[in-house]
Amino acid sequence: MAKIDSSGSTMPSNFIDDLNYEKEDSGTCDSHNTSSFTLTDNIQHRRTSLVSQESEFEIEDFTYSDDDFEYDDDDGEAYDSMLTKPVKHSNKKELSEGAVPNLSYEILTTQDIFENMLARVDHLQPIFNMPREDILLLMQHYDWNEERLLENWTERMEELLVEIGVNQADAKPTDIKVTEDIDEKEISEIKKRGITFKEHFNCIICCEEKDTKTFSLECGHEYCIDCYRHYIEDKLHSGNVITCMDCSLALKNIDIDSIMGHNSSKKLMTSSIKSFVQKHNKNYKWCPYADCKCIVHLRDTSSLAEYTRLHYSPFVQCDAGHRFCFNCGFETHAPADCNVTSAWVKKARKESENLNWVMSHTKECPKCEVNIEKDGGCNHMKCSSCKYEFCWICEGDWAPHGKAFYQCTLYKNDENSKKTQSEELSKIMKKYTFYYRVFNEHEISAKLDWKLGQTIGSKVRALQEKMDISWIEGQFLTDSIKILNEGRTALKWSFPVAFYSDASHNLTKIFVDNQSLLSKAVEDLSELLQIKDPEEIMKNKLEFYNKSGYVENRMYALMECGRDLLCKGICKPKD
């Protein structure tokens, strides 16, 4: 799985001018009831009502459409109600996918969260009765945890303002100077915040004397603009409040931007929001896909424990269409649950050094040893040189695969002779290697299928142009590739389940049979999708429907069976 890209920012360039911005109607949220307060309201009343709100930034109440299925606060009840209420069609689909039904979440970006924070600042403004920029500093300092900020605020307002660097401490800050030749008069002058131009300025940071722009806060600690830029640049990534180099007086976003000459404070704010997301990772998760900027926000995690017990996983989908598990951050991994997934991944990581031979995309034809590269997800290979047809996974003849059962999903134990302990160990290793290899092959196939999917758009267009078929009518192709992807992913994650299952149990045998059926279904569909000629595609339209419908059915059956193995304790992951 790819790492989260931490570099990019999605903030618009104008947000700093927009502190007084008007909340956009995003359609997903209603403004909070506190927004109805007016300035004339009793301050005390307002304060208590705000303090009593939920923690963090419960800015908006989101109205979810799943009114037919509400979680109770009590986990147990939620579960009970799930069992007693008639299961809707969509629920049933989610359940058979091994997913938590009706999971309520929203997709955000750092930008959205920051805008929520700004809205929050607007709400808080009457309480603090100070500039929004200053409230923003307070919020940033408190990691956007409004409740804690308000608590401390009511207790020790004055101290807090000094501590965070909004106000100057009364005591004159000690000033250690490298050089004695700084004009004493300048220090005793009442300093104004901002940039000035000085001739022969002697900066105590770089000790250079030059004609330069300088910057200083009200504290009078004045440094040349170059040193200040260097200093700020180094700190933008931390997301923490940036202070004067010599005292705790804080730089506001507006100061940062005027020093840097461009909109650098947005970088700081993005870093700060990122650290907020990191600190609240129970409710906020980054989409784990490379370069994806989506953040999934799950408000109510209370019901998840119960679903975990039943081996359902909280699968979510971000705005870019990436599906992943909110709990473990991996791609959708049904029929495996999070435990099986993490055990498997840990093991794979440990063994990968020894196993990287399986990662290769090329193989020699088992007959004529010509190098063959796989260009689609389909595992039915035909050597372009000697025309031998074989299975990519087991390298055996394809003929038996095409008929009835696709047996190469099954690891065959040869239980002939008695085994010594070391042989036993190597047998376990062999078994693992087998499962790992198949898992890996399906992963590679899934990637190739995905590539194939990228070309689907042009195929659909070709249909439209050459066959005079409407866009809607051409969608069966897009749907087929989507189902192929899902089926392949499920098949892939079924191997860890099979690996950790008690092979002697009947249910495991049923599971393996189900694997074979799905495997066959997936390969058939994959093969169908290799067709390039538009006319041929249209001729097979019904086949596409049938085959993808079949994949879907087999997939649900396999997922249910896998969950059964987990619930009954037949599949137990171990390191």
């Binding site: 250690i176 490298v178 940071i205």
Partner: protein, 150 residues
């Protein structure tokens, strides 16, 4: 070597012309960013009468980045580990470019006067310090006499 920043030249000059009592710092001839440092153990501490050798290096990004400092003399102290590494906030997160070599060395001297076993770098020493302060101080004194002779 690239030319030495004016800031480092000034600081070095001042360390020589206006030395801090109980502290010496002198750059190596072949590397002007690399200093030989000695600190006298503060009076009233278990390190009294000891003379501790340290080394200090100003990295490329100094003063935006903190100096690197390490004890060369063995010392029994909860915030200094066996390799002489020092756990001091201003050398890490609380560094500010307005601080200088002399302020850093003064802070190290102050750390000798008041060890902080609750924020330890050398865990075993800190444990000893919390459990048996008298014993730990005696050991620190013993080590001072043994390794930090003037």
């Amino acid at each position: 070597m690239a030319s030495l920043p004016k800031r480092i030249i000034k600081e070095t000059e001042r360390l020589v012309t206006d030395p801090v009592p109980g502290i010496t710092a002198e750059p190596h001839d072949d590397n002007l960013r690399y200093f030989k440092v000695t600190i006298e153990g503060p009076a009233g501490s278990p390190y009294e009468n000891g003379l501790f050798n340290l080394e200090l290096y100003l990295p490329d990004d100094y003063p935006m980045e903190a100096p690197k400092v390490r004890f060369l003399t063995k010392i029994y102290h909860p915030n200094i580990d066996r390799l002489g590494r020092i756990c001091l906030d201003i050398l890490k997160t609380n560094w500010s470019p307005a601080l200088q070599i002399r302020t850093v060395l003064l802070s190290v001297q102050a750390l000798l006067a008041s060890p902080n076993p609750n924020d330890p770098l050398a865990n075993d020493v800190a444990e000893d310090w919390i459990k048996n302060e008298q014993g730990a101080k005696a050991k620190a004194k013993e080590w001072t006499a043994l390794y930090a002779k003037k």
